[in-house]
């Protein structure tokens, strides 16, 4: 159930494949894997964004990511979860967040992946600052999402 906060770019799909191999080997009891990747876009609210700086609260961030995954594992029958979140200087096209859930069945995998992502956005201490041509600005709110259905 690892979570990690990374200051260097990561390749999300290579991470998923490597983690799955490390945990399950060549086969296993998981039939369903749900993955979400959030990637830095090159525009926001009409302005071209050249890059972004993501700040976090070392220690508190990891603890809350752990809690979020543990809570999801308590609500749904999950076999494994993986969360990776970037911090530091980020450029358009780079992956910011990866959430992966392995389960026997697709319903639990879809629900838990979505719920972990929503909880991460609403509770994990990360703050974004955009770099525009005209200077920098803090991002002050999250875009709307909604949590998974109740199990």
């Amino acid at each position: 159930m690892p979570v990690s906060v990374r200051s260097a770019p990561f390749e999300p799909y290579a991470e998923v494949a490597a983690h799955q191999h490390a945990v399950f080997g060549g086969r296993g009891q998981f039939g369903a894997t749900a993955v979400f990747v959030g990637t830095m876009r090159d525009f926001n609210e009409g302005d071209a964004v050249q890059g972004m700086t993501l700040e976090h609260y070392p220690g508190m961030t990891e603890r809350h990511l752990d809690d979020i995954c543990a809570t999801a594992s308590g609500r749904w029958p999950l076999l494994e979860t993986l969360v990776i979140h970037r911090v530091g200087e980020i450029f358009p096209g780079e992956a910011i967040v990866l959430v992966v859930v392995w389960s026997a069945h697709r319903q639990a995998a879809f629900d838990a992946c979505r719920e972990i992502m929503e909880a991460l956005k609403s509770r994990a201490p990360f703050w974004k600052k955009e770099r525009l041509a005209t200077g920098t600005r803090w991002v002050t709110g999250n875009t709307a999402g909604y949590p998974a259905s109740k199990p």
Partner: protein, 82 residues
């Protein structure tokens, strides 16, 4: 002398010009009292969150010796506008 650690993050750190400092613990002090003492404000703005020892807490939470108290703006994790 028992100490407490104060932290500010993101726009609050920039606005106030510091990220971390230590202060002497005073009996009966609450999280909100630390904010007011350090910023000179009379209350906690609506968009400021606080945490005690890395857990979110209400502003009225009592502070105990050795605590780490943090103030920060609403969180914006996940992908950029995803």
């Amino acid at each position: 002398m028992p100490l407490i650690t104060l932290k500010l993050f993101a726009s609050l750190a920039e606005t106030h010009g510091w990220r971390e400092r230590q202060r002497a613990w005073v009996a009966g002090i609450r999280v909100i009292d630390l904010w007011c003492a350090e910023t000179g404000q009379s209350g906690l703005p609506a968009r400021v969150l606080c945490a005690r020892n890395m857990d979110y807490c209400p502003p009225e939470t009592p502070v105990t010796p050795g605590d780490e108290i943090a103030f920060f703006p609403p969180v914006t994790g996940g992908a950029h506008a995803c």
